[in-house]
Amino acid sequence: MFEWLHPALVYLAGAFLLPFVPNGKARASLILLVPLIGLIPLLTMPYGETLQFTLFGETLTTFRLDRLSFVFSLIFSLAAFLSLLYAWHVRDTMQQVAALAYAGSAIGAALAGDLITLFVWWEGTAIASVFLIWARRTEGSYNTGMRYLIIQIASGVVLLAGAAIHYRETGSLAFDKLSLEGVGAWFILLSFGIKCAFPLLHNWLQDSYPAATVTGTVILSAFTTKLAVYALARGFAGTDFLIPIGAAMTLFPIFYAVIENDLRRVLTYSLNNQLGFMVVGIGVGSELAINGTAAHAFSHILYKALLFMSVGAVLYRTGTAKGSELGGLYKTMPWTMVFCVIGAASISAFPLFSGFISKSMILSAAAKDGHYITWLILLFASAGVFHHSGIKIPYFAFFAHDSGKRPAEAPWNMLLAMGLTAFLCIAIGVWPNALYSILPFDVKYNPYTSTHVITQFQLLFFSAIAFGTLMRTGIYPPELKSVNLDTDWTYRKMLPAVLGFVILFVSAVWSELARGATNSALAIRDTLAKFYGPEGRVAQVQPTGYMVLWLAILLGAALFVNLVGLP
């Protein structure tokens, strides 16, 4: 019935029509309608590959629905609806269009059945999303946006190059499990790795998300990285060396998160850390692990969005999201505080919250396959997450020392969006089977065993006790107005410096050369003019006798050649 309807096209059509609808409630409602319409084909279509066409002699599949792509496109649709609801009050056409196009591209990419289609949507997410950063319209956000865009497009270009090489190596453009025997697949992996914020490739994430608008950050948090997780799960499930990469990803961001002042940036570090869990799941690659990854991505999108929403609401009302300037907001923003705590509980994997039922799958999968070190790291990272996201975010925003700020409660649409999201977080935690039923593989997993619940509580409580102890002893680092160096230093400070030097050097050499060339050209011109110019020796009007001399010389030469003779 809806064979012709591609969800991504629904979004794009919506984005295209938006500017023609008067800005206001009508448009805001239309925006909310789009994700709902987009859900129709997703829910009604049977699994399979449709909407295929031919390009350059290859068949492209734009709509491939199977269990894996279904989970991701479903959660993308949900996230789109919730974040757009959160952004209901925004009247900036640019942001509205960008948000719809961005969500649509992400869904399109999740449904892509071949590398070309994937590339198209992959770049689509890059282009559409950067507007959410630029929409802040400051010098800082412009520059951040440029950096973000360059890295995102680099990812797409690497993907394209990888696809080209892969195509020539295997003769196929299909986007299925890729073998790392060819060079192409490595390129593709690198491309996914950039978008997935692999260690050392990660810094675009922390750099850009906090630079977006209040609502933009929420939208950004849902799609790009999870799309990369999907792509990795599709192409590289069971690739062993992803496990150490994922483990590293869970680990290093939490250190940064502890000392970071900007709460939205804290959340991006925590986002990076959560991605690490998923990457480990993909690396393990067992059915349980992939299920865990999909489930974790699903719940992660929700609770991370919830956290960004609540911090965003604080920012919206107070004008800042810096830990050093906040505190005591629970008095006037109680609902926001509650939702934030729910999000924090979810990300910390408290039993009965969504994080608990998904993250534990990954840990179990890793443990089951005997990855002991990895398991230890993940355990540490879980505790760390609670530390910086679960406690730090609500604590410094809403409690801690009273900043004296008395902002009004968030507007109704934000509260509603947060409320719905919070509801979903709890619902998933309480009734995990609903989520389990749509996972890529059949689930035989019960998170609520006594061992699991008790050990999890032990871990979390003692993390909290550690936090309390450190706070009370004053060891815990205070929130300070500051920035921390990260890998972005290499391209924000080092690269410009190096380039500046190189440019200085090259241009000095060049201008020397150019001056030399100009001088010698002038010299040649002058010499020529001296000889050939109107007054020059060659062109002068000379006495006739001079000519006769020449005549004699030439005659002599001719006679010489003729008589004495060269051979």
Binding site: H89, A135, R136, R137, T138, E139, G140, S141, T144, A211, F255, Y256, V258, I259, D262, L315, Y316, R317, G319, T320, A321, G328, K331, T332, M333, P334, M337, A367, K368, L376, L379, F380, A383, G384, F399, D402, E409, W412, T449, T451, I454, T455, Q456, F457, Q458, L459, F461, F462, S463, A464, A466, G468, T469, I475, Y476, P477, V483, N484, R492, K493
Partner: protein, 116 residues
């Protein structure tokens, strides 16, 4: 409509605020902290009373999760504090190419004071 809504939710708001007001009282916070410690110890003791399903031997150590959680978190914070010495820079380190040094633009905000 906005008016009606705020009327309706006023009650719950204040309940939440009232129920959390202990955080501003130092002695109550102390009590809360020790309460958490107590619950933590109780949870650790639970280890003695049930059969753990474990993947690794390490898990069978008594109170493994508790100790691991506590010490690793402490180590995390100490390490992070040490990192600050090396990594921390002033807020305008990257300015003007950075958002840290600038205020969030007003058009994207709706600052409202609550009626206290």
């Amino acid at each position: 409509m906005a008016k009606k809504k705020s009327d309706k939710s006023e009650g719950v708001d204040s309940i939440i605020v009232r129920s959390m007001s202990w955080v501003d009282d130092r002695s109550k916070v102390d009590k809360f902290f020790w309460g958490v410690v107590a619950v933590g110890i109780l949870l650790t003791l639970l280890d003695l009373f049930y059969h753990k399903h474990v993947y690794f031997e390490t898990e069978n150590i008594f109170g493994f999760y508790s100790f691991y959680g506590f010490f690793m978190c402490a180590a995390l914070v100490v390490a992070a504090r040490a990192m600050r010495v090396v990594l921390m820079r002033s807020e305008d380190y990257y300015a003007p190419q950075d958002v840290e040094a600038e205020d969030h633009p007003e058009f994207d905000l709706d600052r409202k004071q609550a009626d206290v």
